[in-house]
Amino acid sequence: MTGTHTKPPLVSVRDLKIGAVTDSGREVEIIKGVEFDIAPGEILALIGESGSGKTTIALSLMGHTRTGCSIDGGQIRIGDNDVTAMSRRARARIRGTEVSYVPQSAAAAFNPSKRIIDQVIETTEIHKLMPKAQARSKAVELFRALALPDADTIGNRYPHQVSGGQLQRLSAAMALISDPQLVIFDEPTTALDVTTQIEVLRAFKSIMAQGGCAGVYVSHDLAVVAQIADRIVVLRGGEVQEEGTTEQILTAPTHPYTKELLAAFEPSPHQSVAIAEAEDQSPILEARNLFAGYGAMRNGEPAAKVLQDVSFTLERGRNLGVIGESGSGKSTLARALAGILSPYSGEVLLDGHRLHPDLTGRSKEDLRRMQIVFQLADTALNPGHSVGNILARPLTFYHGLRGKTREKRVIELLDMVHLPANMRHRAPSELSGGQKQRVNLARALAAEPELVLCDEITSALDTVVAAAILDLLKELQTELGLSYMFISHDLSTVEAICDDVLVMFKGEVVEALPAHEMSEFATHPYSRLLISSIPRLDTGWLAGLEQDPELIAQFANR
């Protein structure tokens, strides 16, 4: 322990190398010599797309690697502990006491059959840090500091009795109970709705400021990171691309990849693709007083009603965005329109003529004209077929193509979504997330539809990849004269591609506006709350944000 006398960093990572063995026994290097330091009390953000190794690095700070991975080289030092040189037992001793972890999904991290308080103070019991009564009172203090309601009694509840945002804050309390020197936050707000995210971010920020412990914040979202981190490390493919203070990364990035990340954030207002508008043409899609729900039908109404009296029209060549938080019924709307879930009341009109509520009652031609694209390309493509077969089926089914002509058309479709022709021999499992989503889109295009329902198709993708998909959608629209109905929880995505926006809340349309007027002229309180909750690329955004607490109590699911 002869360290230098200038203020030494709390954490230093030197030339970290982490390798993994693939299922086929091949060894790959995931982390290729990463180096960074964290000063005491500082919050460092690790940012990058999926597969960049950000979580792997964060976990390695606890000396932990996921199954199949191993730390192959380099040094990780936390305080006086050399994590890489430690024995298993010594590592177990520092976990929870020196370094603690806040996982992405708090719902999965809590044991559903134990009371919350017992789980929060578990660390102190395992490491025998303090008597139980003291730990309990400390936990209550933390609950208060994290702005949790009913701090004295919330610990006596079970995990399913609190909301997602509360549970995430409780899992932070669990991490902080033992006064660790370093807390690792692994995408803690990614799974939360925007209105909930704000509260959680605020709580994290204030408690980290009080506690004086250092933090590592793993995220893919630059705007979120801008609110909480002091410094940012940009990762890609297991290598550090750029490192700097938050201000510097946001305002003066030097590395091209960082610039690309920032560019993906720039709002690009959508130019309407007004197709030579023939007068008095009927709208491509119209919904009139649509009601839908799930569960057993009783007296003509289902047990769980989701959609309540939804009406809208979508003009040909225009794009309609639907935004709302989880549980707002936006995906149900898409399913009801497509007839996958038949609405129990109301009607859907395609190009002026009424569609049968259930898809089994619709004609092949009706089905062809309206195609649906799902969020998760992983589950939307049959893993048992090649890409070529997946694209060929709708061609045979709708257009009766076979043999050479069909093959030619498959290649055309792949070209349309900017994929090489020989991609058709691959299985879906051999494609990346963005490529899968392109195939998913190409399959819908194979039907030569007039309307495409896009259900959160960019939500599971990395920022840069999602931006490319949006560009592709715009390009296809001008080429093929499509109309889109675009469902998303992300307002900026919707603004980038849509002409009109519907805001949904608890199964009802609370506001309908042209997209470019959304941020300024939205009048419904929920729309205002939703718009103001979207993080901006500005370090002072969270601190300066003021929201009406009554509104929040009324609409946010905190």
């Binding site: 089905l367 649906i372 589950t379 049959n382 893993p383 089926r393 709708y398 021999h425 039907a447």
Partner: protein, 288 residues
């Protein structure tokens, strides 16, 4: 038997050399043993040195000798010939029964999963109730009622093992049925036959084949049990299970008679499982 797709590659543009149908050596050994027994079953009459029912040695439980390669049984019949002829019954009946049981079970299971509703409910409850009848007892009653013949045996064994296969396939298919790609196909307007054969079946094939291997082994065992009770293959012919049962007393004389049919059963059942467990990953891991 690896280069299946090598020769079919005539397309002008480059087909990536992805994983082809490659077996590992364990799978190959399994397949070789299965093929061996299949050949033996087909060519039985030409291979066996003596008629299987003929008493050739007037001493019972004879030792291994140059005349009788595997010794003789409790009546002095040649074990080698009896095993070769027994292969026809064991391999033939078990294979036919398992194929029928799994085909019917899997097809019904997939239809039930896709169609759902009353069809699923009635079929599932009926087969559950049917499953409650003890299998050997059921076999006994049927064979006692209509008499024993190869066809009756195959159908009885099929009936015994079909419900299990149905349950297994239905459970798998229900999971696949909720996947988005099936929803997409349904939204395209595809009918049940397409959904079953093209969307669901490829994704449950791996587990279904593994189940088929296990079921095959059980069928061999139940067939042996029926033969022991005198309801299976009728004397003088015998399947392998019967050979074990009728020669089990020989153990106390140190006679080899019981060893060889046991080895035959073991080699077949183990190799079937070796083969199934080591199917090319292209087939096995599709569902993952």
């Amino acid at each position: 038997m690896t280069p299946v797709s090598e020769t079919t590659r005539v397309s002008e543009d480059t087909k990536p050399s992805g994983p082809t149908f490659v077996f590992n050596w364990v799978g190959r050994v399994g397949l070789a043993v299965i093929l061996f027994w299949a050949l033996v079953a087909l060519a039985g009459p030409f291979l066996s040195p003596y008629p299987p029912g003929e008493i050739v040695d007037w001493d019972y439980f004879g030792p291994v000798s140059s005349d009788y390669w595997m010794g003789t049984d409790y009546l002095g019949r040649d074990i080698f010939s009896r095993i070769i002829m027994g292969a026809r019954y064991t391999v033939g009946i078990a294979l036919a029964a398992v194929t029928l049981a799994c085909t019917i079970g899997v097809v019904l299971g997939m239809i039930a999963a896709v169609a759902g509703g009353w069809f699923d409910m009635i079929l599932s409850r009926f087969l559950d109730a049917y499953n409650g009848i003890p299998s050997l007892l059921f076999g006994l009653v049927v064979v006692a009622a209509v008499g024993s013949s190869i066809l009756v045996l195959v159908l009885t064994l099929t009936a015994i093992y079909m419900p299990g296969s149905y349950r297994f396939a239905r459970a798998l298919a229900v999971n696949i049925n909720t996947m988005d790609f099936v929803t997409v196909a349904r939204a395209r307007g595809e009918g049940t036959p397409y959904l079953i054969t093209r969307e669901i079946f490829p994704n449950i094939l791996g587990p279904v084949l593994a189940d088929l291997g296990l079921r095959f082994v059980f069928i061999v065992l139940v067939l042996s049990g029926l033969s022991f009770l005198g309801l299976g293959v009728q004397p003088p012919n015998a399947d392998w299970g019967a050979l074990v049962r009728e020669n089990i007393e020989g153990l106390s004389f140190g006679a080899p008679a019981v060893i060889f049919p046991s080895v035959a059963i073991a080699s077949l059942t183990i190799s079937v499982n070796m083969f199934i467990d080591n199917l090319p990953t292209r087939i096995r891991d599709r569902s993952e």
